[in-house]
């Protein structure tokens, strides 16, 4: 019997991100949509990781935990899953069907 299907995510087609960071906050502009977003350190790192390559929540957790020196625990996974839902709603990311 297989476990729940893991959804991999990627940056939305047509997205082109411009970044600026001041202290622990990012401002990121999506040239594709024209939207500009304010992200905290964690959200910014998640989106940067997805900009580099697609990943599911567990894979992102490992990569983000390593980048930010955080424990890769269930709390972080849940936080990242929430961020992915938010990014999906904002049109920043899409499921990676490939």
């Amino acid at each position: 019997m297989s476990g729940p299907r893991r959804v991999a995510w990627k940056l939305s087609g047509g997205s082109s991100l411009l970044w600026r960071r001041w202290n622990d906050e990012y401002v990121v502009h999506n040239a594709g949509s024209g939207d500009t977003h304010l992200l905290d350190l964690l959200a910014g790192e998640v989106l940067k990781q997805l900009e580099a390559s697609s990943a599911d929540a567990q894979g992102l957790t490992r990569r983000v935990a390593s980048a930010l020196e955080l424990p890769a625990d269930v709390v972080l996974v849940q936080h990242i899953e929430k961020l992915l839902a938010d990014f999906d709603q904002l049109g920043l990311i899409d499921p990676d069907e490939g």
């Binding site: 600026r20 960071r21 500009t36």
Partner: protein, 275 residues
């Protein structure tokens, strides 16, 4: 440069009072905007008379009562700039200059921005603009637009009391913005209208009765979002607009500012200018 045609007496008088220091160009010379403020033909010329604004022979607005023709012209000129001067990044803000450095005051209506601008303009700062800050994409400098400062409601008497030397036009009541009056820009501001300034401070003002004048540093990322929200054409400029605003945030100190007393506000601004 604006070519304006009008025969409405109140507007002619207002121009003579508030724009007295502006140079008059040749009627055949180049103009950025060609505008007219007239009374409509027909019955509305005499019965409940109205004023009608034309931009390049198009009328973008419904007519307004003739008695509000003076502020109508100012609002229409603001519209001309905010909708057509897209060679600049346009921020809904006041601005003043001291020592070559510009203080930007992005703020929604009711924040006290214009009251502050009027006060600063007469207390050692050069008025750059009351309503629209024009930022040049090529170098991030502010191009002045030193037109009359528009005051509303209580701020009219505040400035009459605070600046008895200022020239303030007659008040127009019952406009869509309440009672409004215009303050003539200082002669020096008009004379130096071609002299740009480098942005140095972004201050988000908030008039709060009985509060001590207080500057609170604003994190830069948050200042970016706040000022982007105050831009008329940030989206139009796309990636270039993002880079330009980011540059502004990089080079400016950003603050939240609350105040209730103009003297204390100006003292605080003077102190950051001399720091």
């Amino acid at each position: 440069m604006t070519r304006l045609k009008t025969t409405i007496p109140s507007v002619v008088d207002s121009l003579a009072l508030l724009y007295a220091d502006f140079p008059l160009e040749s009627p055949d010379g180049f103009a950025d905007f060609h505008v007219r403020l007239t009374t409509p033909m027909g019955m509305r010329r005499w019965w409940r008379p109205q004023a009608l604004f034309f931009f390049d022979d198009q009328s973008p607005f419904e007519p307004l009562p003739l008695r509000v023709a003076v502020p109508f012209l100012e609002w229409s000129l603001n519209w001309c700039v905010s909708h057509h001067a897209h060679q600049y990044l346009i921020i809904h803000a006041g601005a003043a200059e001291r020592g070559g450095r510009a203080l930007l005051l992005p703020a929604p209506p009711g924040s006290g921005k214009s009251t502050l601008c009027a006060a600063l303009a007469h207390r050692g700062w050069r008025l750059l603009s009351d309503e629209l800050v024009l930022v040049r994409p090529q170098d991030g400098r502010v191009t002045p637009l030193p037109r009359p400062v528009s005051l509303k409601e209580r701020s009219i008497q505040v400035i009459r009391d605070y600046l008895p030397e200022a020239t303030i036009g007659p008040a127009t009541t019952d406009t869509r913005k309440g009672t409004v009056a215009l303050v003539r820009p200082p002669r020096d501001a008009v004379a130096r209208a071609l002299e740009s300034a480098a942005p140095a401070w972004i201050i988000f003002p908030s008039y709060q009765p009985q509060t001590r004048a207080q500057l609170e540093p604003l994190p830069k990322a948050r200042a970016f979002l706040r000022i982007a929200e105050s831009c008329f054409n940030y989206s139009l400029h796309g990636a270039r607009g993002f880079e330009l605003l980011a540059h502004l945030i990089d080079i400016c100190d950003s603050y939240e500012f609350s105040y209730s007393d103009l003297d204390r506000a100006i003292t605080l601004f003077d102190s950051i200018a001399s720091a």
